[in-house]
Symmetry: C2
Subunit: 413 residues, 2 copies
């Protein structure tokens, strides 16, 4: 129940059922602050903690979410309860109101320091689409391992950028029809991928896996990811060691981390798996981590897709169990992304590769323009909502980015 | 010229021509110190700096090499000249001697905080061997892109460990002959890979590449890498997105970082490339970065291989230019490894995969035992030397690790 003085607009996706965390700064101030989004405002929770909860002042007075992430689930619950109390009249209005800032007036930053970044490939419809596009004559569009494990690879942690960061069109090697060797130049097949990311709070030791059932003991929350992809660079480079320069130039993330605690009403059963996964990958009994997140992708403001996350074949709990089953440790700030989210209908596919069928059938925008792949100046925005308790809506906000023209880079080039 | 009181053993690979940097602690002290190896000892350079060079006390009094790495080439040169002066009588012996510790008495740590980790695949002989082993009927053992770009992929930064760290045999999914689906269990084909790593000091901005000619403006130094590999996990998982759990359980690095400045006498012309690389990958005129490093691999103390780094097809300068040509930024602490180093002769191959031809022709050790792949308890040590100025030898020390048995990990398993 929000305090009387807290004017959250009716139906806001940032109501007190949500309370996502981010990192913001005000004006030209160099200092970064941990904030919680509520309605159209941001609460400087470090400032309130200093006034009324000194025990949280260190965690919430940091310049990134990492200290809070590392503190673990018991502290996450206590902090969430405290913040909710502050917004519900548990402390005098004058303790809180001076630290509520208009969201439109703040600058949002990457909310955490990224340790390792892993990208999965866990949506069956997306993998089937990719298989049909790249191997049209194959009987089975999925690779033989696909239904046995969540395929993933490490991406570049150092080029995760926050929503709003411009993305320079990457240059690199690609093949051109009729030419034997590769040519060098700006990517001609730049794409987006709509994904959901998760951030690890509590580390795991090297040599031990994280069980599916222990997902929420380690993972703090979720956010949105645009895994920008240069399809032509990727096609030439990726055999045999996987994507590299086709992905590593930039990966955009949304600024608000929605805690798992805000997603309890969004949990759904994942789709049936056939064959049954190996024991270490089975959903925890009665506790699966399918999530009914409803994504929307806009290109230059026009909705081009509505990917449904609820249909993902592998859940984030299975992804984390797989990622660590070989004894790999996770650290505070480790990020993993779901892979492109695509539903069964064309209007639910999460990349231009799929929406334009590799450029063969361009997407028609309402302004009459067409897109096979992205052009310079294009703006891609991915947003999402989830069902909250009692009919509330839990919003993720959005991850947005504009494509800038390639710059000359590389020597002698 | 070493000071009279500095008893460096004759022919030491840690003479004053070398002076590699590491991070050490003494006894049970929690504090870590930056050290320079000289002879059989380590100089606590932070302590000396506090006494005689206050301007370096911050950089050298840190608990990792990162502040020094970030300081850039002019500072690297000044610090190296100062340390050499301290060891040559430029300051009184009593200023230095109390801070020289026996190397045998210190504990060595990971010398830097790792940002991103990239592993390349830049040795032609290794790639040819791998092609012949896995695709024996193919006419051309190299993938079509191999001679056009240094193939690479991102590895797991969080599981880089310092030499001496035990490596638990990883578990995971693998195929077994005659069974349709995968089985789960400890890797039965655990391997080493002898590689050379490089660490970035000076960051580059997002959107701009690092030119081949600017390699030494960004990279601080070199060290040894054992890229432990579970061949059976890797074989099942790696199509289409590359190696993941087959590599991510542990990557061992040697504790001493040899600055590029110590490798001037080791620089050699790389082998001829055919076809000529694209302009952004061409060696800088008169300034190529081939390096005559001579590796030795020991298994349980027996020499099993002597891989020659001088024959690498792609140099580290080309690798860095490729890694960034799409606009990917590098950060202080970014690490990239060469890929397995293998020479033309069997006794020069840098992995058991090659030495035992995928287990078909096991390596015979002098004690009469055979190895197709690694057994529990096996100890792998990789060492290297390079030619130094005036007939000196520049040593890299070694990266060593013992294989421990698999532990039960994963839930319900």
């Amino acid at each position: 129940m929000a305090a009387e003085w807290l004017d959250v607009p009716a139906g806001s996706a940032f109501g007190t059922a949500n309370l996502p965390y981010g990192v913001f700064s005000i004006g030209a101030e160099p200092v970064r602050r941990v904030g919680v989004a509520v309605g159209d405002r941001v609460l400087d929770v470090g400032a309130v903690a200093r006034a009324v909860r000194a025990d949280f002042a260190g965690l919430l007075g940091a310049e990134s979410l990492n200290p809070l992430l590392a503190a673990g689930p018991a502290v996450w619950r206590s902090v969430r309860a405290a913040v909710r109390g502050w917004l519900s009249g548990a402390v005098p209005a004058e303790t809180v109101l001076p630290h509520l800032v208009d969201r439109a007036a703040v600058r949002l930053h990457l909310p955490f320091e990224v340790a390792d970044y892993v990208d999965f490939y866990s949506c069956e419809q997306h993998a089937v689409n990719a298989g049909r596009i790249f191997r049209p004559d194959a009987e089975e569009p999925l690779p033989p391992n696909w239904r046995h494990l969540p395929i993933g690879y490490h991406g570049r942690a150092g080029t995760l950028v926050v929503s709003g960061t411009d993305v320079v069109r990457p240059s690199g090697q690609r093949r051109e029809p009729g030419r034997e060797g590769p040519v060098f130049g700006p990517s001609a097949r730049l794409d987006f991928e709509a994904e959901v990311g998760f951030v690890v709070g509590v580390p795991s030791p090297r040599g031990r896996g994280v069980r599916v059932a222990d997902f929420a003991e380690h993972v703090f929350g979720a956010f949105l990811v645009n895994d920008w992809s240069a399809r032509d660079l990727q096609a030439w480079e990726y055999v045999p060691l996987g994507p590299f320069l086709g992905k590593s130039f930039a990966t955009s993330v949304s600024p608000w981390v929605v805690p798992l605690a805000a997603l309890s009403a969004a949990r759904v059963a994942p789709p049936p798996r056939d064959p049954e996964p190996l024991p270490y990958l089975r959903d925890a009994e009665g506790d699966p981590w399918g999530l009914d997140l409803r994504l929307t992708v806009r290109l230059n403001g026009h909705v081009v897709s509505r990917p449904p996350f609820a249909r993902m074949y592998w859940t984030p709990a299975q992804q984390l169990a797989h990622l660590t089953v070989n004894g790999a440790a996770v650290r505070t700030g480790d990020v993993f992304a779901s892979g492109t989210v695509s539903g069964p209908e064309r209007g639910e596919w999460g990349s231009l590769l799929e929406l334009s069928w590799n450029g063969a059938d361009p997407v028609r925008l309402p302004d009459g323009r067409e897109r096979g792949f992205l052009r310079d100046g294009d703006v891609v925005s991915i947003s999402a909502t989830a069902p909250g308790p009692g009919g509330a809506v839990v919003g993720f906000g959005e991850v947005t980015g504009r494509v800038l023209p390639a710059v000359g880079n590389g020597p002698n080039a």
